[in-house]
């Protein structure tokens, strides 16, 4: 059961590139064959990442066999001299991870030779899948790039757990920003995972509260709490009720009452959403996606009285603290395909690959990456917050008649 027919789960190393290539003033140097970099450049361009900051040392057979790191040393000096970046991230390829090259050691002594800050990531694609990579690199970036300033700026927050790979991340961030502004008048300082510059990361220790929207960022949030005393809230606001709970928790952390109008509007929407006709509640649902997206939307649909038959996670659950028992991660692609091909007359909310596997008699909504077939614009509806819940509810009402008529 080891054949991969569709998209393999991205590795930890790929997740490292997603997070490191967001910085305008940093460079990512891959210590490995340049073909890997060429592939990455083409694949990551579509995610809006700064692929012109991605460089490769290439490798010769001598480097691999003899463990010679001169190539890496020279590349670090030349990049520092030619491009003058603030930070150089050094990421080894899988080959060097197998041979055991000590990249952190090289960075340690080469730090004396260069002006840029050297940060080594020691995962070469064997640590686990992208969930592992996100978790490790969120923590690495926080530890290495958060400033020393710990005086909190009132009514400010950081978002921890953004990622260019996540579907609808930009509309989601806009929705969060709008919610925080309209409910508390709070301003965002830094977004861990999508910061434009390493300078922005220095604000990580100055926020009044950290909002963790992805479980993989929890270790980073805990580190910030230990070192800067910043409280954090782990809650991805999906659905009206989820958003209400999120805003109440943020209010407590900030010591502020949420805006009464926003809360009234939310309560009104919660009541209205309960009035789904009984027939609509017969709709069967299956959800596939990244952990927090899948569980968040599952909770929302459950609050509407809809029954979810399958709740499937796209990545391993090892880095998710106490994951809900309702969610499953299939170790092999075959098991997953069998489940997806067995879905009929359901509303399937999933990634593009999973949606393409489902039979045609299902109604579909893309909620997670990979989403290569989806077009995202600035005006795209988010999945989080009030607008996200409006969007999902609207889609549910449009699809229910089609699905119910098929059932009759």
């Amino acid at each position: 059961m080891s054949l991969i027919r569709f998209n393999p789960t991205p590795s930890d190393r790929m997740a490292a590139l997603w997070l490191m290539l967001t910085f305008e003033d940093a460079v990512v140097l891959e210590y490995g064959p340049m073909g890997t970099t060429c592939f990455a450049e083409r694949a990551l361009k579509g995610m809006g990442l700064k692929v012109n900051r991605l460089f490769s040392t290439h490798l010769s057979e001598d480097d691999v066999v003899m463990g010679d790191v001169t190539r890496l040393e020279k590349a670090l000096i030349e990049i520092d001299r030619d491009l003058q970046p603030k930070v150089i991230f050094v990421v080894p390829s899988a080959i060097l991870t197998v041979t055991g090259a000590d990249i952190a050691g090289v960075c340690h002594y080469m730090q004396l030779e260069v002006n840029a800050k050297l940060i080594a990531y020691d995962g070469g694609g064997f640590k686990g899948d992208y969930s592992t990579g996100l978790s490790d690199v969120y923590t690495l970036l926080t530890k290495e790039l958060a400033g020393r300033e710990s005086t909190p700026v009132p009514s400010t927050y950081n978002i921890l757990g953004a990622c260019a790979y996540a579907y609808k991340i930009q509309p989601d961030l806009q929705e969060l920003e709008h919610l925080m502004d309209s409910t508390f008048g709070a301003k965002r300082l830094a977004t861990l995972g999508l910061c434009d510059s390493t300078q922005d990361m220095k604000a990580l220790g100055q926020a009044s509260v950290n909002l963790v929207i992805r479980a993989e960022a929890l270790p980073a949030a805990k580190w910030l709490k230990e070192n800067f005393g910043t409280e954090y809230i782990y809650s991805a606001p999906y659905g009206y009720l989820g958003t209400l709970h999120f805003l109440e928790a943020v209010g407590t952390a900030l010591g502020k009452e949420p805006d009464a109008n926003v809360m009234e509007m939310l309560k009104g929407k919660i009541n209205a959403a309960q009035n789904i006709p009984t027939s609509g509640k017969k709709m069967r649902v299956s959800i596939v996606g990244d952990y927090d997206v899948a569980v968040g939307i599952y909770g929302f649909l459950k609050s509407l009285g809809l029954k979810t038959e399958h709740l499937i996670c796209n990545h391993s659950l090892g880095r998710i603290p106490q994951p809900t028992e309702d969610i499953l991660f299939y170790q092999t692609e075959r098991e997953r395909i069998t489940v997806l091909q067995g879905l009929h007359n359901q509303w399937v909310l999933a990634d593009d690959v999973s949606l393409s596997i489902c039979p045609a008699d299902n109604a579909r909504l893309c909620i997670s990456a990979p989403a290569a077939d989806q077009v995202e614009t600035e005006e795209s509806s988010p999945l989080m917050g009030i607008r996200g819940a409006d969007f999902i509810l609207e889609r549910q009402r449009n699809e229910k008649d089609i699905l119910l008529s098929a059932l009759i």
Binding site: L29, M34, G35, L59, E61, E78, D82, Q84, K86
Partner: protein
């Protein structure tokens, strides 16, 4: 002068050719990418890529591509069981007629004996299974993937009865029909039989019946040599040649093998190519240039250009023909240019500022000859005439100087520098 270049006279082997310490956007492809481009052209076959998740994610695409993703356990204990299980699944679900297994860097480093496993699968399932090795750390050339994939096609061939057919190695039928060589063959009544790699598994199995292989791309040479060794099929090399005399020799060799008289149209084309060269000789003489990759062998091209009176200042190539190569000696007789395996944008710009070449030939930035493609549409004297006319149109260098004006240069440099 930058450490990214050396003088050609100081080079003794391909390993001595300096390479930049780092490569930016626009790095060379992985041989996996180019190998897959070949295997997907073999109809009815499927490709199974054996590598890490990243290789699998990046090379994805097409319904004939499958992956086996290696993890740390496979690195430590070998991937035999995983590959065997995946192969079994593949056979049960898809029943392919042939399978290419592409091995990537990690299984090549760990030393898994995939060739032996392929032989086991072949006898177990009764289909052709070929292994394409694409260890990128052994080469900077993406064409290694094409060569190995073409070479692996030998495993799909069976011993058959000989006939008078001719195979075309290195080009598809559609592209080949547009070439001068195709017209010449047609004129003497020779219809090519099988075009490799644009053929089916069944056609590939019958490829050994041919009496002659015509190699129209250097990357197919490995396959031609293997076919000669295993099936005793001679081959004629018809890869891109910049010299009219060399091309004429290739035609003579071809017609000798075909046992047919050479048609007059070949001589006419030869004269036309020679005239085209004579026409430009005066105008290009004394022109300095940088030479990157073209469809022609690098040193043969530079020897040809030196004999035209042109002056190479920089040659960018990972290839080195050996100290006793006639082409190399010709180049050194006229000049001693700088040489580099690859070159970064910044260094290229600095060299242009310093050496001020009149012309850039080949590569992405230059003119005068398209980049080398796998199976060029120009074969024979046509390729020479096309190249010659493209360099003669730009001998003044006016267009190049305009494109690389100081303003544009400084803007580009600023764009990559951080403050």
């Amino acid at each position: 002068m930058t450490s990214q270049v050396k003088k050609l006279r100081d080079i003794s082997s391909a390993r001595n050719i300096p390479a930049p310490s780092y490569h930016g956007a626009g790095c060379a492809h992985c041989p996996l990418h180019t190998a897959r481009k070949i295997t997907k052209r073999i109809k009815d076959s499927v490709t199974l890529v054996l590598g890490i998740a990243e290789c699998a994610c990046y090379v994805k695409g097409g319904d004939t591509l499958f992956n086996v993703v290696l993890d740390w356990h496979d690195v430590t204990f070998g991937c035999k069981d995983k590959l065997a299980a995946a192969f079994d699944e593949l056979m049960q679900e898809y029943e392919p007629k042939a399978v290419f297994i592409i091995t990537t860097c990690v299984p090549e480093i760990t030393g898994d004996d995939v060739d032996s496993l392929a032989a086991v699968f072949q006898s177990q399932y009764g289909i052709a299974v070929a292994v394409v090795h694409t260890e990128h750390f052994k080469t900077v050339q993406e064409s290694a993937g094409v060569q190995n994939a073409m070479g692996a096609c030998i495993e799909m061939m069976k011993v058959t009865e000989k006939d008078a057919s001719v195979n075309i190695l290195g080009q598809g039928q559609q592209d080949f029909l547009d070439t001068e060589l195709s017209g010449v063959l047609k004129a003497v009544g020779v219809e090519p039989g099988i075009y490799i790699p644009d053929c089916s598994v069944a056609e590939l199995a019958r490829a050994s019946k041919a009496k002659l292989n015509i190699v129209v791309d250097a990357n197919a040479l490995l396959l031609a040599q293997k076919m000669e060794q295993r099936f005793h099929i001679p081959y004629v090399s018809f890869e891109a040649c910049i010299s009219p005399q060399g091309t004429l020799e290739a035609y003579r060799h071809l017609f000798c093998r075909l046992e047919k008289p050479m048609p007059e149209m070949v001589i006419t084309a030869y004269e036309k190519a020679r005239k085209a060269i004579l026409d430009i000789e005066k105008t290009v003489s004394g022109t300095s240039y940088f030479c990157e990759r073209t469809q022609f062998p690098t040193f043969a091209l530079n020897a040809f250009l030196c004999e035209l009176g042109m002056m190479p200042q920089l040659i960018v190539t990972p290839e080195f023909p050996g100290r006793d190569s006639a082409d190399l000696m010709t180049v050194l007789q006229y000049s001693d240019p700088y040489i580099a395996q690859r070159i970064s944008q910044e260094t290229m710009q600095a060299l242009q500022d310093e050496l001020k070449p009149d012309m850039l030939i080949g590569g992405r930035r230059g003119n005068g000859g398209s980049r080398r493609r796998y199976g060029s549409k120009r074969i024979g004297f046509d390729a020479i005439i096309e190249f010659v006319s493209s360099i003669s149109g730009n001998q003044s260098g006016a267009e190049i100087k305009k494109r690389h004006s100081p303003d544009a240069r400084s803007k580009r440099r600023e764009g990559r520098r951080f403050s």
